[in-house]
Amino acid sequence: MWSNLPLFPPRASSMAGHVDALYFFLVAVAAFFTVLISALILFFAIRYRKERHPHAVQIHGSTALELLWTGIPLGIVMIIFVWSSVIFFMQTRPPKGAMEIYCVGKQWMWKFEHTGGQREINELHLPAGRDVRMIMTSQDVIHDFFVPAFRIKADVLPGRYTSTWFHPTVPGRYHLFCSQYCGTNHSQMVGTVVVMDPVDYERWAAGGVDGSLASAGEKSFQQYGCSMCHRADMAGRAPNLVGLFGKPVLLDDGRTVTADESYVRESILNPGVKIVSGFKNIMPTFQGQLTEEEVIGLVAYVKALGNGTANLPLPVSNPDSGNYPVAPKAEPSAAKSDQGAPAAEPATKSTPVNPPAQP
């Protein structure tokens, strides 16, 4: 309805309705109090102007009134707090099984990499009706990924991954803005998010791809000699990466961390920070030697090793292939949010999006 009004951005994600509803409630609250205060001031100013009311009546105050106008606003803001927090939880917790897109911001462009291997600059093609999770990092300063039509925004930082997610609903072309000031051409660091009908998207995704992101990562894995130590047998001097992703990892200082994208990234670039229990701090740092794209490839590869959609490159005789199906426990729940994209699987051969998509 209000998406036709020029004063609002298009509503093109599942979140837009929730955010707009809260916005309208807040507009109503703000309008009510602004009108209330203005009307009271005007009324008092006219009713009690000196000509009409020459002698002021001295009133010291009223504790009952003070409690009233402390308590009522407090109640209202707590309603807003709870409401907005519920939306915030939705915005910050990506559903399981969302398709993943890697994003690198740099002065002054956006680079996107799909897990199928498609690469884009300043354009991001997405299928309508799928959950999409962005895994983002910056090559230089802080940027911010902002799509008004999705009502979503997240800073993109150097040296770490941040993420956000959305569920595009309406095919169309939407603004992508960098909304964290990043230098000279900040206002030209804009792009277009192209939400496509799932069928069109499959057609688009099938064109011009030479290997998935994970396969690019696999090449780097060999090229940089990772495969020498990270072996599937116990002879390796480094932890086995098969089945690792998403699992808890026990560190030598007794802490346990989850092997997520940020952990894998840090372990590549800054391996000494978190040492896996039982291993030595012998891995060299790759800080400054890998591009962000190479790191993303490696992360995608480790992820693929984790859910069994890729193998280690060395002729290791796969003794522990029995370990591969470690991921399935996450998968059934993932399938249910996926039904909007029936044709998702066949096109992108090695998408780590879950095989049992259609029960």
Partner: protein, 546 residues
């Protein structure tokens, strides 16, 4: 300094006691230092305003066609740095606080007069560094100096500007320290805490923030400079640093700094509302305590500037909740001011018009703050023009309107002359209308998704930007007009007399302009603040007891 001659006590005042340049530059009289500050910050206000006009002209069209992108980035950076560090933060405390804190509590001067003069010199020294940075190429980091852009990537004069901001901070600390000690130690006999004008309470709360918050900014700025010069690796992720650390440190000061800017204005409005309603202020204790509550809570909400920056979900929730709490004491003030009007005997002199404008604009600014505290909604409007509109409603609609209110209200006391009422009312109207036309469209732009700090923008945003620029030109006239008639009034204005508004408060019980030592004899206070009932019942001004 000089001993006021008794024979000419009606004529000799702090302005004409000595005309030499040296007597101004080496003065320790809090009133003269206030005038030095007034002249300095007015200059910087118009400099910052000039940058603002250039920004608005550039944004008249979607294409970046007036200046280059780099220059546009420098314009909004310098607008922010000049307006915040050289105008808004010193504005009311350094001018009206300096002038009025001793007078309102019946003291001859601040507790540390030389420190007070030093604070002006430190301010000017810092301002020189900032001016140097501007004149030798400018700064393009945004006034927020976010790392790693400021520490590693920017090719502009970051270090010079940072040194300037660092130095200016100390003038703020000295002023705050001076006020705290003065308010504790130098109140006139009988002037208990609960008899203090609420202007004093507001300045007390402000001073606490200045003294506790500003050192954190100083440390942060030093770290940025060290990182830039010596590549320390505090904020640079490639060296193991954390760019978010800067944001935590910066906003730990810079959010409370918002209250440094707005609390003194609230104090001004309280005085003016009471005077022109001829009433005791409604809910004195609640207004006083709400100032303290704002000062305390203001230190606990900094991360609401970082909801999209990559902080944890739970940090987001906690800071969202605390940000909602800080809205409550501000709301309490607004309700109390409004209630003060009830059964008053209201007149509409210029300061009162500014006070009405303040309440309205501050209410809108405060309520739109709720949109930004609502973390789920902030994810959409953060870093857009919605934020720009919101903080201009607070800082221009609130702080600058409060400053204009104070300037009109106490101008007769400071100079002994009245401003021309008709022109003053016209300018108040222009400021109010121009302000709303400038900044209200920016709320709409923000929700549509126009990011801040954009040199060019998609064409669908143009209509609202044109409205905003039109409003800015009205606003500019509204601010230039007072500049003219205030200067005019120095020569041609009517003599004000000691108390042209029949206002309560010790500052009105002495000559206008006051003598160097403010009071002939130290007053003894036996009445509550805002005793308008007694003043009007007597039908004459209450004279200082002797």
């Amino acid at each position: 300094m000089e001993t006021a001659s008794h024979s000419t006590e009606a004529k000799t005042n702090y302005l004409n006691a000595d005309y030499s340049v040296k007597s101004w530059l080496l003065t320790t009289d809090h009133k003269r230092i206030a005038i030095l500050y007034l002249i300095s910050i007015t200059g910087f206000f118009f400099l910052g305003g000039l940058f603002a006009m250039l920004i608005r002209l550039e944004l008249l069209t979607p294409a970046g066609d007036l200046v280059l992108s780099d220059n546009y980035n420098k314009l909004f950076t310098m607008h922010g740095i000049v307006m915040i560090f050289l105008f808004l933060i010193p504005s009311i405390p350094s001018v009206f606080g300096n002038f009025l804190v001793p007078m309102m509590i019946g003291a001859k001067d601040l507790a540390f007069p030389k420190l007070n003069l030093a604070s002006w010199y430190i301010y000017m020294l810092g301002a020189c560094f900032i001016l140097y940075a501007i004149l030798t190429g400018g700064i393009d980091t945004g006034w927020t100096f976010y790392t790693p852009y400021s520490s590693t990537y920017s090719n502009s004069n970051v270090v010079a500007a940072a040194v300037g901001v660092f130095i200016v901070g100390f003038s703020s600390i000295f002023t705050g320290l001076n006020f705290i000690v003065t308010i504790h130690r130098m109140r006139a006999p009988g002037l208990t805490w609960r008899r203090l004008p609420l202007f004093i309470w507001a300045h007390y709360a402000t001073s606490v923030i200045m003294v506790l918050g500003t050192p954190v900014l100083a440390i942060t700025i030093v770290l940025v400079a060290l990182e830039r010069i010596f590549h320390f690796g505090i904020f640079d992720a490639r060296l193991g640093g954390d760019p978010l650390l800067f944001q935590h440190l910066f906003w730990f000061y810079s959010h409370p700094a918002v209250y440094i800017m707005i609390l003194p204005s609230m104090g001004v409005i309280t005085e003016v509302i009471a005077c022109f309603s001829r009433k005791r202020i409604f809910g004195y204790d609640f207004i006083a305590m709400s100032s303290i509550a704002i000062a305390v809570l203001g230190f606990l909400v900094w991360a609401h500037h970082m909801f999209v920056a990559g902080i944890s979900i739970y940090a987001g929730l906690i800071f969202s909740m605390l940000s909602f709490f800080v809205a409550i004491p501000s709301a309490v003030k607004v309700f109390n001011w409004t209630a003060t009007l009830y059964k008053g005997s209201i007149t509409f002199e210029t300061p009162m018009l500014y006070a009405f404008a303040f309440i309205g604009l501050f209410t809108v600014g405060g309520l739109t703050g709720l949109f930004l505290a609502a973390v789920g909604l902030d994810l959409h409007v953060h870093d857009t023009y919605f934020v720009v509109a919101h903080f201009h409603y607070i800082m221009v609609g609130g702080a600058v309107t409060g400053f204009m209110c104070a300037l009109h209200f106490w101008w007769p006391k400071m100079t002994g002359k009245m401003y021309p009422e008709g022109f003053a009312k016209l300018s108040a109207l222009l400021v109010f209308a121009g302000f709303n036309l400038t900044f209200f469209p920016q709320f709409l732009l923000g929700y549509m998704g126009m990011p801040r700090r954009y040199h060019n923008y998609p064409p669908e945003f143009q209509v609202l930007n044109v409205m905003s620029t039109a409003g800015a030109s009205i606003l500019a006239v509204g601010f230039l007009l007072p500049m003219i008639y205030f200067v005019w009034s120095l020569q041609y204005g009517k003599d004000a007399g000691p108390n042209p508004y029949k206002a309560a408060g010790l500052e009105w019980m002495t000559a206008s302009p006051p003598t160097t030592f403010n009071f002939e004899e130290t007053p003894v206070v036996t009445w509550e603040a805002y005793n308008y009932g007694e003043i009007d019942a007597l039908g004459k001004e209450v004279e200082v007891g002797g």
